[in-house]
């Protein structure tokens, strides 16, 4: 295949849709190391480069640590950069994640969410990226293949905003989104060029004006730099909303900014989740609404920055909140989203019971019947106005662990 990439509505694999969207953003440098279930994205991109349909520099590396390190250097030199990884690969990048954010480099990376070893497992949950929540990367969790395309472009707009200048993870559920074939509107190069401005770094490495990036900083200054990263995170909140709204104006599609809501206005029970599970939950809400159950759905699109104000507004008048976490913060007994939803109400007048449910670890299916049982438990708490106890592992096979 030579010539330019086709645009318009096609039935493509989720991974191809992401690779195509990344290509349309004209990254100067791509560096990645293949790992299931991310592989198809970086294979497609390397094919684009080999075919000459995009003129990115593709740096082959021997590990994920090197992949992200290569992008740290490239981004500091003023290049627009892209990578993708998952699970153990993301864990191997851990140290470099802090550096990329601390150096304020607007790298965009797709995370194809997968469980963490041990035991080794290649299927989906959110443990890999949720475990990186304190690294200073913006994290967007995506619902379907079309949103992935659109959010990839938005990610560059957010990351490269000079008030933000932070790296962004666009998180998609492994296999569920990466290997699904769906009709997707593939973006047109001209339209993306018009939408997404060229990357102009705040500061860039330049041999004619040598500077040191990522310098040693002693106790006199360190806290201030960390404070600036938190301020940049805060500054990204309206930018995430803006990017989503600007995209809507240009392309006619919107999936929420920091959050999205569905049937929450008069909801007594509000379900909270991130990622592709939102699709299932929309169906459950439709079904239960048709039976008169006042249930609504809150999609957390941006987990970092955490949209506490937006969440509080949505849940303030509910009778109960049920959080479905595809991760477990071991030692707290619950997923990270549950903890943070609880925390965002602390020191306010909002008092809504929060039920935590750890679901779907390591690719365990989350059928509609499971969600219905979760809603029944939530209804029970809503009725009694009490009884929100500890978070629970949903659909655990007791016969495998006792007796």
């Amino acid at each position: 295949m030579t010539g330019k990439l086709e645009s318009g509505r096609k039935v493509v694999e989720g991974s191809y849709a992401v690779a195509h969207a990344a290509a349309m953003c004209r990254p100067d440098v791509i560096s990645a190391y293949p790992i299931t279930p991310q592989t198809h994205i970086v294979e497609d991109l390397s094919q684009f480069v080999a075919d000459g349909v995009i003129d990115s520099k593709y740096i082959n590396v021997e590990s994920e640590f090197s992949a992200l390190s290569a992008l740290v250097g490239s981004s500091a030199a003023g290049a627009r950069t892209y990578s993708a990884t998952t699970s153990q690969g993301l864990a191997l990048m851990h140290e470099v994640l802090f550096n990329a954010a601390g150096m304020r480099l607007p790298i965009v990376m797709t995370i194809v969410n997968r469980s963490m070893s041990a035991p080794i497992n290649i299927w989906n949950d959110h443990q890999d990226s949720v475990a990186q929540r304190d690294t200073g990367w913006i994290q967007l969790y995506i619902e379907d293949a079309q949103e992935l395309v659109d959010a990839t472009v938005q990610a560059y707009m957010i990351a490269e905003d000079r008030d933000v200048s932070l790296p962004v993870m666009v998180c998609m559920d492994g296999f569920i989104l990466s290997h699904v074939f769906e009709p997707v509107d593939l973006l047109d190069q001209e339209a993306v060029d018009k939408f997404l401005p060229r990357f102009t770094p705040v500061r860039a490495l330049d041999p004619n004006n040598p500077e040191s990036f990522g310098m040693f900083v002693d106790p006199e200054y360190y806290m201030e730099f960390r404070y600036l990263v938190e301020q940049a995170m805060d500054a990204s909140r309206p930018k995430i909303e803006d990017a989503a709204r600007k995209f809507e104006s240009a392309f006619g599609r919107y999936y929420g900014g920091l959050i999205d809501t569905y049937e929450t206005d008069d909801a007594e029970i509000i379900l909270v989740a991130m990622g592709s599970l939102i699709g299932t939950l929309r169906d459950v809400v439709d079904d239960l609404r048709s039976k008169g159950v006042p249930v609504g759905l809150l999609k957390i699109r941006s987990f970092r920055p955490f949209p506490a104000d937006e969440i509080k507004k949505v849940i303030a008048d509910a009778k109960v909140v049920a959080v479905l976490d595809k991760n477990i913060s071991l030692g707290t007994g619950e997923g990270a989203v549950t903890t943070e939803i609880k925390a965002c109400m602390h020191n306010t007048d909002i008092r809504v019971p929060v039920l935590g449910f750890v679901v779907g670890l390591g690719g365990r299916d989350i059928p509609v019947t499971t969600v219905q049982r979760i809603v029944e438990k939530a209804q029970d708490v809503a009725r009694r106005g009490t009884g929100a106890g500890a978070s629970e592992f949903v659909d655990v096979k007791q016969d495998l662990i006792s007796g």
Partner: protein, 86 residues
């Protein structure tokens, strides 16, 4: 005012004289040195140089951290590590 990230003038390692980190100091015995340059090649800091007045080598003590690699590698045993009194 600090910049948005830890970015500063290049070459500040010249101003930061790391020689104060040293505990053992390498003493270069010119009379034993055959000028092979192994010490210069192995120095991780790049601060071993030829003496201005000859073909033998010595370290720049403003920056030598006293790691002792030059002494370990010298084929003539011409570099001696001595506990430095400050």
């Amino acid at each position: 005012m600090i910049p948005h990230a830890a970015i500063g003038d290049a070459g500040t390692t010249i101003a930061n004289k790391t020689g104060s980190w040293r505990i053992f100091i390498p003493v270069y015995h010119a009379e034993l040195c055959n000028g092979c340059g192994t010490c210069e090649t192995f120095c991780p800091e790049g601060i071993v140089h030829k003496r201005v007045d000859g073909d033998t080598f010595t370290a720049d003590y403003d920056y030598c951290k006293g790691c002792g690699i030059c002494a370990r590698e010298c084929p003539k045993g011409a570099i001696e590590m001595i506990l430095e009194e400050k």
